[in-house]
Symmetry: C2
Subunit: 229 residues, 2 copies
Amino acid sequence: MTYSYKYPRAALTADCVVFGLDDEDLKVMLIQRDLPPFEGTWALPGGFVHVDETIDEAARRELQEETGIKTSYLEQLYTFGDVDRDPRERIVTVAYYALVKLSDHRVKAASDARSAAWFSIGDLPTLAFDHKKIVKAAYERLRGKVRYQPIGFELLPNRFTLRHLQHLYETILDRPLDKRNFRKKILSMDLLAELDEVETDVAHRAARLYRFDRKKYQRLTKQGFNFEI
Amino acid sequence: MTYSYKYPRAALTADCVVFGLDDEDLKVMLIQRDLPPFEGTWALPGGFVHVDETIDEAARRELQEETGIKTSYLEQLYTFGDVDRDPRERIVTVAYYALVKLSDHRVKAASDARSAAWFSIGDLPTLAFDHKKIVKAAYERLRGKVRYQPIGFELLPNRFTLRHLQHLYETILDRPLDKRNFRKKILSMDLLAELDEVETDVAHRAARLYRFDRKKYQRLTKQGFNFEI
């Protein structure tokens, strides 16, 4: 069975830049290709969009098939359509980026048995296709967006210390932040709920745990509040 | 001649939301469809992406063919891929938005003889397909972006008064701005070159003309300057 059209058509794929954060730095999940082209090279998880699914659905499906990841935060990034970006034929890809709590996704075995691994954003291997360009665009979007929307919390465990939160912003923005100013700013926005718990299993003095109050944020946003770091 | 593929493929189009500004308000250019589906209904200029051109090239080509507009500012907005967004078959569209100096584009005859016209953003006719959703997304992007990038100047003549500039921001942001504060803010950014000319043919006292200093802006941006209204 084949499908025929009057004019030649590009194939359509969805690719996904998955960001995770650990104690060291910001990481991106890559999978190693087991088929040509670029066999053995690392690439973004992704694949062909079925004709009966939306592009968002395709992105989520491919992500889960290839990495086992179900993400709550997935956003369309940009559509990459250079004519020769794939050596096989004309393939247009709609790129997404996802934010996950890395602690929940310590490299699960991918269902199709390709190897998947986290790489530091600053130390990526050679990537297949134009995926380097896509990762760069996703990182720029993330850096821009964390400053005016509280999406950073997607990368943290549900309960976190202010030190963790500052580490998150310092890592993504790639510059040190003044501890006093940072705490003052973040607490003044009144978006964190202080918990009756402190962190455990730490060598230093255990710090207070907080959680992000999403409902409060939505309420404040409706009133015209702007998140800003 | 037909082109055959193993799996069914979506068709790919590029559609464009063209914004212009006049003394009254923000306008969008629409064309009236002369073929089904939605025959006679207004729609965004756009059309099919050829397999040997980039999506950006397709957007520019369609825009020029259908409206005669060559724009310097064209930016990809979002890719719309709802399965049933076109009654003919699965068609995915990459949407763009363009900013033009409306005075340069007083409805030129379109090369393919479809009628093209400017409509106020607040008073659009019924639109074909999901084009209403696309216009809404483009307007939100524009409103967000004018505040932190000096793209508004693309909508003004090369020489403009501060009154024109304030009108632009008030129209796009849809709220009045304090004249004194606005002028102080915009002049303090030092991005405008004051010209040795005043406006002509006005009933009120002729005001000073300015132009946007793009080179200076680029120089300042490299130094870490952030435009902000």
